[in-house]
């Protein structure tokens, strides 16, 4: 086993060296944190480490986590840092090859055929299946061209299982096969981010091709910095209290616990209300910003010793 790994490591190292010659986005884990922070994305150590590895190993990044912790934001921030174009594939039930990969522009093909009536069939056939008539969809767009790109495949779990099969070729070899044209291989690998809310178990084959990153709720200190960054007018002490209350809510057994997005909303609400510290009335009146279910509000109210809501 050890020998095998060593042997494969050697061959991989040559590949890594080759990849190293291609421009990398980041030089170190600290570099990731610092540059993401410049764009307004404060990364936890696990996020920074995994993004660095995804860049270094040239593998897609599969990001899971509860809604509202900044999965999509991460891809946007990386695109901004890399000065790359963000290509986004939003998955939904029923998304298919022609929406994700490519499609032939039938209308244009018909026009082309009727425009040149006096040529032979063979000429027309080779012509209408050329790149001019290819409508490129996100996956194909991401691997064509030389400029840097970040490919975001959002809510992968919403797509049907068949689409995953389609992703496999793109994600492992960064190539797309168009039967009429042949295989198109990426001249420059895009940085790929897949997000998932885990509403469906993604297939093992897809998971194997990705680095896995779970973004959970941030540590207290990090969340405080996020709140301070996103809501600049908020007082330091109030930000601290806000984060502590949200932290307490997350330990309760609620139907939907507040996420970072809700924390920021709450902080904005408090700022708009002009509250300079938390007290029972303020919390009771604004709990609806944090919690979206009536039973949750009642339960949290009882646990936080608020008077009857």
């Amino acid at each position: 086993m050890t020998d095998l790994v060593n042997k494969r490591l050697d061959s991989w190292q040559t590949r890594v060296r080759a990849a190293l010659e291609a421009p990398l986005l980041f030089t170190s884990v600290d570099d990731v944190s610092a540059r993401l922070a410049e764009t307004g994305y404060l990364a936890s150590p696990s996020v920074a480490t995994t993004v660095f590895l995804a860049d270094r190993l040239g593998k897609p990044l599969l990001v899971e986590g509860p809604a509202g912790v900044g999965k999509t934001e991460l891809a946007k921030a990386v695109a901004e840092v890399a000065r790359a174009r963000l290509v986004r594939l939003q998955c939904y039930e029923g998304v298919d090859e022609s929406r994700a990969l490519y499609e032939w522009n039938h209308a244009k093909q018909l026009l082309r055929i009727s425009a040149g009536r006096d040529e032979t069939w063979d000429e027309a056939r080779t012509d209408i299946f050329s790149e001019e008539f290819l409508l490129s969809r996100p996956l194909l767009t991401a691997i064509r061209g030389d400029e840097p790109k970040v490919l975001l495949i959002d809510e992968t779990d919403k797509a049907d299982v068949e689409v995953e099969g389609l992703l496999l070729e793109v994600l492992s070899d960064f190539q797309v096969t168009v039967p009429e044209l042949g295989t198109i291989t990426a001249s420059r690998r895009p940085f790929v981010v897949l997000t998932s809310n885990a509403s469906r178990e993604l297939s093992e084959a897809l998971r194997r091709r990705c680095l896995f990153l779970h973004i959970g709720f941030p540590e207290e200190e990090l969340e405080r910095r996020i709140v301070r960054l996103k809501v600049p007018g908020l007082d330091e002490a109030l930000a601290k209290s806000v984060v502590r209350v949200v932290g307490a809510l997350r330990t309760m057994d609620l139907r939907k616990v507040p996420s970072v997005a809700e924390t920021i909303d709450w902080a904005r609400t408090l700022l708009a209300l002009g509250a300079d510290h938390l007290d029972e009335t303020v919390v009771r009146d604004t709990l609806g910003v944090l919690l979206k279910h009536q039973d949750d509000i009642l339960k949290a109210g009882a646990k936080l010793d608020l008077d009857a809501v």
């Binding site: 086993m1 050890t2 095998l4 790994v5 060593n6 494969r8 490591l9 991989w12 190292q13 890594v16 884990v29 150590p45 696990s46 480490t49 995994t50 660095f52 590895l53 995804a54 270094r56 190993l57 593998k59 899971e64 049907d160 299982v161 885990a198 509403s199 469906r200 178990e201 093992e204 998971r207 194997r208 680095l211 896995f212 990153l213 779970h214 002490a237 601290k240 209290s241 502590r244 209350v245 932290g247 307490a248 330990t251 057994d253 139907r255 510290h277 938390l278 007290d279 029972e280 919390v283 039973d295 936080l304 010793d305």
Partner: protein, 448 residues
């Protein structure tokens, strides 16, 4: 031990816990180690997790195993442990400041100073229990609280959160002590063995019948996400089932506009059949963890069905559907409430499948219709009384399908007072020992 060897034995230990890792991932992990270096342990941990794991469920196994193979330090800590009072004083400071690095150092010192037992090389070891008994961190609560209040002043509203926060910090310290004791034992006994035996399995592989109280609480927290996943799976099955069959009448009708040539086949629209579900749950003693979990899971799936009725029994049977109603169900106290509010026992307290099933067939026969699917949950241990097979036969005749989920391992079926094989002749019986098996079964067997 070279890094490559350490990595492969680490991967081996994870595989022993059922984490599926291929050679490709191991190579990725090695590359990650090379790219990150060994200097920063937390980065190494995240890097290995990113390359080796494929889901969050495996993380609770990954972390303790990582601590064993890439320990914080080797051997005894450099500083020796101060006396008990001194130690408690420093721990109070660390807890008040929430200083995790200091807490980890103190945990190492405490285990070194007070966790050791035995004096022959074959039987000695390090015990986290002994360390914690000696240090009693839970009694520091009041001191830490006063410390924090002194430093920050009573901070108004958030003051009420303080005690819970400190409690969580103390829990974190206890976990640190446990990890440290495991590490010291592993140095003595061999890492591979400790990694196999002393690290708890992932939640979905915990045996229902042997799960302790906190493992069951942990299981209950997985109900909602699991239900969501199963609901998507059911919806997908339903969609697939709706495809394919052609509605001849509407196709011909549509063909009139194209001169009688059926250009566009019209597919038959499937009427939502509103399947009904009946659950018969043994809630006696050891099986109750399993039944409670399954009841909550079915309740969480309630919007997938026309009607869900839940019956609980020990040796008499009663309907408990209303106790499970959404919002009213508090998962923690569910079992206790069922036992308090429903009539489940007659003259004795041990389970009697024969009487309970007979009672169901005669009193609640109206719950059964050709649309009903019945799930019986229990170990089929009748305490030597009559299994009442005619009642089961009657149930199978009146319902659409009947399944029996048995939390016992298959080899134990039919041993002692188990009537598993007798029932299995009449209804389809499945072994269902952990959440993994349960979710596979529920996804496959639930009617659509």
């Amino acid at each position: 031990m070279s890094t490559a060897e350490r990595l492969t034995s680490f991967v081996g230990a994870l595989r022993a816990h059922g984490v599926r890792i291929g050679t490709g991932e191991t190579v990725d992990a090695a590359q990650a180690v090379e790219a990150l270096g060994l200097a920063d342990r937390e980065r190494l941990r995240e890097g290995l997790a990113a390359t080796l794991l494929h889901g969050t469920a495996q993380r609770p196994v990954f972390d303790p195993v990582f601590d064993l193979y890439f320990p914080r330090g080797v051997g005894a800590p450099e500083e020796t442990s101060p006396g008990r009072e001194d130690m408690r004083e420093r721990l109070t400071e660390a807890l008040a400041a929430n200083d995790e690095a200091l807490m980890a150092r103190l945990a190492a010192q405490a285990v070194d100073g007070f966790g050791g037992y035995g004096n022959s090389p074959a039987s000695d070891g390090w015990s986290s229990y002994q360390t914690l008994e000696w240090l009693r961190p839970q009694t520091l609560m009041a001191r830490v609280r006063d410390d924090v209040r002194e430093q920050q002043g009573a901070s108004g509203f958030t003051d009420r959160l303080l005690e819970d926060e400190i409690r969580r910090r103390i829990e974190a310290f206890r976990a640190l002590v446990a990890a440290e004791a495991r590490r010291r034992v592993a140095e003595r006994r061999g890492r591979d063995e400790i990694a196999r035996r002393a690290v708890a399995p992932t939640t979905d592989r915990v045996d229902f019948l042997f799960a302790g109280k906190d493992r069951l609480a942990e299981l209950r927290r997985t109900v909602q996400p699991l239900a969501r996943k199963l609901a998507t799976r059911l919806a997908a099955r339903r969609r697939r089932a709706a495809r394919g069959s052609i509605d001849l009448r509407r196709t011909l009708r549509g063909s009139l506009s194209t001169g009688g040539v059926p250009m566009k086949p019209v597919l038959r629209r499937r009427r939502p059949a509103r399947p009904e579900l009946v659950l018969l749950c043994d809630v006696s003693g050891s099986v109750s963890g399993f039944s409670d979990f399954t009841m909550l899971l079915v309740q969480a799936l309630h919007d997938q069905f026309g009607k869900v009725r839940v019956f609980a029994f020990v040796n008499r049977l009663d309907e408990v559907t209303r106790l499970l109603e959404h919002g009213a169900a508090d998962p923690e106290g569910l079992g206790a409430r069922i036992r308090a509010e429903a009539t489940l026992t007659g003259w004795h307290g041990s389970s009697d499948y024969g009487v309970a099933l007979g009672e169901f067939a005669s009193l609640y026969g109206d719950a059964l219709s050709p649309r009903t699917t019945v799930f019986v949950l229990g170990d089929a241990r009748t305490n030597m009384s009559d299994p009442n097979l005619p009642a089961v036969r009657e149930i199978t005749e009146r319902a659409r399908r009947v399944y029996w989920l048995n939390p016992e391992a298959r080899p134990q079926w039919g041993t002692g007072d188990s009537a598993a094989y007798e029932y299995a002749e009449l209804v389809e019986m499945h072994e269902c020992r952990n959440v993994r098996q349960l979710s596979a079964l529920v996804g496959r067997l639930l009617p659509i």
